[in-house]
């Protein structure tokens, strides 16, 4: 217990970095995922194919590889630099890799949501003369989002847990990295481990409950 108190502040700062990564990742992944799903249902075969290839490639690549490649390959070798400060740079590198990875899962969830919208609605939208973009943004996507709130919640929970892999992208300030450094000096400490676990559960469990509640509330009754 003493160890948890002693290293608590460092660990809390590390955890705060996980929270920041989660927020940036969630926003970027939702935006990118929506664009991807629009690509995948669009009338242009090339965009459809590009979206499908992207989603299948990214979903089958380990996140560790994505992050290590972003840091060692894109940043170190090819000079993709977001900031001169190394820690800020690696934060954004990780945020980029994480959102590119999560976007593929968001796209899959949304596409399942698009499948729940009855055919008749799209037909009706077409019949009153809406264009593809209009029927997508006014009829299909709003209902698709409401149908997949709970699965999107699971995607977000998985992403929050994935922020711990930031170490692979060279970001050494997050709670997993801090825990590793602490363990290097004290050896494995059960209180510290439990402390971080409780912190993560405190973050993910409300999201699970909230999205579950929201999904029931906003469910489109058919």
């Amino acid at each position: 217990m003493d160890e948890l108190i002693k290293y608590g502040p460092d660990l809390a700062l590390g955890f705060l970095e996980n929270v920041k990564l989660s927020i940036v990742g969630a926003i970027a992944a939702l935006l990118l995922g929506t664009i991807l799903v629009a690509m995948r249902v669009s009338p242009t075969p090339v965009l459809r194919a590009a979206g499908t290839v992207y989603v299948n490639v990214v979903r089958n690549t380990p996140l560790t590889l994505v992050l290590a490649f972003s840091a060692l390959g894109l940043s170190d070798q090819l000079g993709l630099v977001f900031s001169e400060t190394p820690t800020t740079n690696s934060f954004w590198i990780v945020a980029m890799g994480l959102s590119l990875y999560t976007a593929a899962f968001v796209c899959e969830a949304l596409r399942a949501g698009v499948n729940t919208v009855p055919m008749g609605q799209a037909e009706a939208a077409r019949a009153i003369g809406l264009t593809f973009m209009q029927s997508l943004t006014m009829i299909i996507l709003p209902q698709a989002f409401r149908a997949v709130i709970a699965p999107l919640g699971s995607v977000m929970i998985a992403m929050i847990k994935n922020t711990t892999v930031a170490t692979a992208g060279g970001f050494l300030l997050d709670s997993a990295a801090v825990m590793k450094i602490t363990f290097d000096t004290t050896g494995a400490s059960i209180p510290i481990f439990l402390g971080i676990v409780v912190a993560f559960m405190a973050l993910t469990m409300p999201i699970g409950f909230f999205t579950g509640w929201l999904a029931r509330r906003l469910a489109v009754v058919r």
């Binding site: 089958n60 490649f69 390959g73 949304l110 399942a112 729940t116 699965p151 997993a176």
Partner: protein, 305 residues
């Protein structure tokens, strides 16, 4: 919902617009690809020199294949253990005895909620304290994967058994079977068929997650590709990344394909009354959602009458 219903069969103007869009998007995709190519080329990543090692058998023999074996070994051992863990805890959660059901539920929920990397770190540092010095990277990866994926599989098992229509167990009790017989002879054989696709999808996740071993320096494919190869053949990081990326993709896509095939097959199967259980974390919404191109709240396997 079929995607084609989102837009009309195009008229003359629509066709021109679609062709323009196609050209524009081809150019956009090509521009992105060319941009990546230029970036790599500017740094000399396509020089024959740094690709040379990958054409030699020794590179594969000494580095890549041992790395691949490391990955597959961890994945295979973890998969067997996770399946056993999942079966035991999944069935324990279905127990009629509260003192078995509740602890099993707690174990499953807790290990599902812990970020896997933290679990692996913890085991990695805990093992030397308990068992003395040694290299515990393999053990940490395998145990971490077992606890996490085993917990997810336990939920799959539970869902698989629940997926068997209730009337079947009632009928089985009515003909005088014991609880053990009902589970063993009626529920599990049908449940397992329904679970297969979800189990295989979870094994894809497990195989992908072995790459976490990279962080604690377990010698897997990612490690040989990103640490050992570039150190041995200076400057060959990007080629190495591309080569091992393709290997990972091939492995996972083969497994994903197997999962889809199994799901299609069990959907057609007459051997089970249970509908396939959704893969954990997959976007299952409503009845029969996201499974066909038709959608609209009708289970695809239900015949239209």
């Amino acid at each position: 919902m079929s995607t084609s219903v989102l837009f009309d069969a195009p008229g003359p103007r629509g066709r021109i617009r679609n062709h323009t869009l196609t050209v524009v998007s081809v150019i956009a995709v090509a521009a992105v690809l060319y941009g990546i190519y230029r970036g790599f080329d500017a740094k000399g990543q396509f020089e024959g020199k740094i690709w040379q090692p990958f054409l030699q058998w020794e590179t594969w023999d000494f580095y890549i294949i041992p790395g691949l074996i490391g990955t597959l070994r961890a994945a295979a051992v973890a998969a067997v253990l996770a399946l056993a863990f999942g079966a035991i805890f999944g069935l324990a959660r279905l127990s009629d005895h509260k003192w078995i059901r509740v602890p099993a539920g707690v174990v499953v929920e807790v290990f599902r909620a812990i970020p896997l990397l933290l679990l692996i770190f913890f085991i990695f540092y805990l093992a030397p304290m308990i068992a003395g010095g040694g290299d515990y990277a393999f053990m940490a990866v395998v145990l971490g994967l077992m606890l996490y994926n085993g917990s997810v599989l336990a939920e799959v098992v539970r869902a698989g058994v629940h997926a068997v229509p209730k009337g079947q167990s009632e009928a089985a009790y009515a003909v005088g079977m014991r609880k053990n017989q009902v589970m063993r002879l009626v529920l599990l054989p049908q449940g397992v068929t329904a679970m297969m696709p979800a189990i295989v999808s979870q094994l894809v996740v497990l195989l992908k997650d072995t790459a976490l071993g990279y962080i604690i320096a377990y010698v897997d494919l990612l490690n040989t590709g990103f640490k050992i190869l570039p150190a041995r053949f200076f400057g060959s990081l990007i080629p190495a990344a591309i080569v091992i990326g393709v290997i990972y993709l091939a492995l996972n896509m083969a497994l994903s394909y197997l999962a889809t095939w199994l799901e299609k097959r069990s959907r057609r199967s007459r051997k089970t009354a249970a509908r396939p259980v959704a893969a954990p974390g997959s976007a299952e919404v409503g009845v029969g959602a996201g499974q066909g191109t038709e959608g609209g709240g009708l289970a695809p396997d239900k015949p239209l009458e």
